[in-house]
Amino acid sequence: MGQIIQKFFFIGSAEGEVRRRLADLYPKLWRFALTLTGEKSRADDLAQATALRALEHAEKYREGSSLDAWLFTMARRIWLNDMRGEAVRRGAGLVPVEDLDLAALGVDTETNIFARQVLGKVMALPDQQSATVLLVYVEGYSYREAAEILDVPVGTIMSRLAAARKAIKAASEPERSGLS
């Protein structure tokens, strides 16, 4: 107990950074969780569990490194090690969602039609392709950084993005011509 109380009152600066910035980064963490899980309630649970574990292990965060990447890596581990198996046992998670229920997310009809189209298509991509798209094309990570977060070779990132690009382009062309 003494150690715990000491920890409570004398947190290091790295831990302090985790605690200070977690709330600001939470929407991005949740968005990443959404691309991993493909479903809102599971994304909510994954983001919560990741935040909990980040607070518990805040002393392991290396000050000055990317806190976003640290949280994303943690979320990916929790999803694959702890939660995905359960989702599969419950009959979900193995099959990629064909179309994310954007209405359930509150993405209303005022959102640009192309944005809705892109979201739906990216979220329907299988095998962590949507998480890869998010990391590289939205969060701006390099291939190598995305590979480290997802714990896959750089070649896998390349092939996932190639498949994702094909799907997004194919989906967006008819929509664009229809809009013009």
Partner: protein, 242 residues
Amino acid sequence: MTRTFSDADLTAYLDGELDLASERELEVALARDPDLVGRLEALDFPRDEVKTAFDTLLDKAPPPPVRPKATPRTGQFRPLLIAASLTIGIAIGSFVSSPVNHDLTDDWKLAVANYQVLYVTETLAPDDPDPEGTEARIEAFSETLGRDLRPALNSVGLTFRRTQMLGLNGAPLVQMAYLSEGGVPFAICITRVDETDYAPRAETLIGQAAAHWVDDGIGFLVIGGADEAFVENIARDLSARL
């Protein structure tokens, strides 16, 4: 010999990730090969539009978890409250997106669920239960809550591992921890509640199978694993004996 370029190579080129030598080779090939240009165009789309689309999701995120206020309290449960706050790490009340709508009376169960989700087999495996110490603690905890908790030492399909007193918002909360035959951690938690009696109800809390009931001002919660029927069975058995 002319090098062939895969879609992954073309993607890396579009993303500025191809090494310089390959990039030069590809640009030479593009100048000569209309089919290759067609393949490249089939992969090209504005990256910033994907970012714009995903940015619409940011304000759809649920509120971040908030750590419990560490307001000074008097009484025997203050140290326990601090420990529980650190362990639990997040507060309740932010689970607006859970499948079940929770109100404030559910807080203690969500706090337990957040704690329990951290448990793994190794959390409870290292030490054999100390029978004498366990008996003394259970008696003390039973006295604190005004309910004999000893029947919970034996639960269907579970092996008792340890018990500890936690605290939430200044109220005592007894945790009894178990392992199933498969090594899955389970917990039975008991605390005083201001609710009318109800029979065991099944619910999923933070991805874990759970069942809870209230009897004469005492709230009980069984939680662990993913087997809802297993947890319900334990709850039915214990609600009859506790």
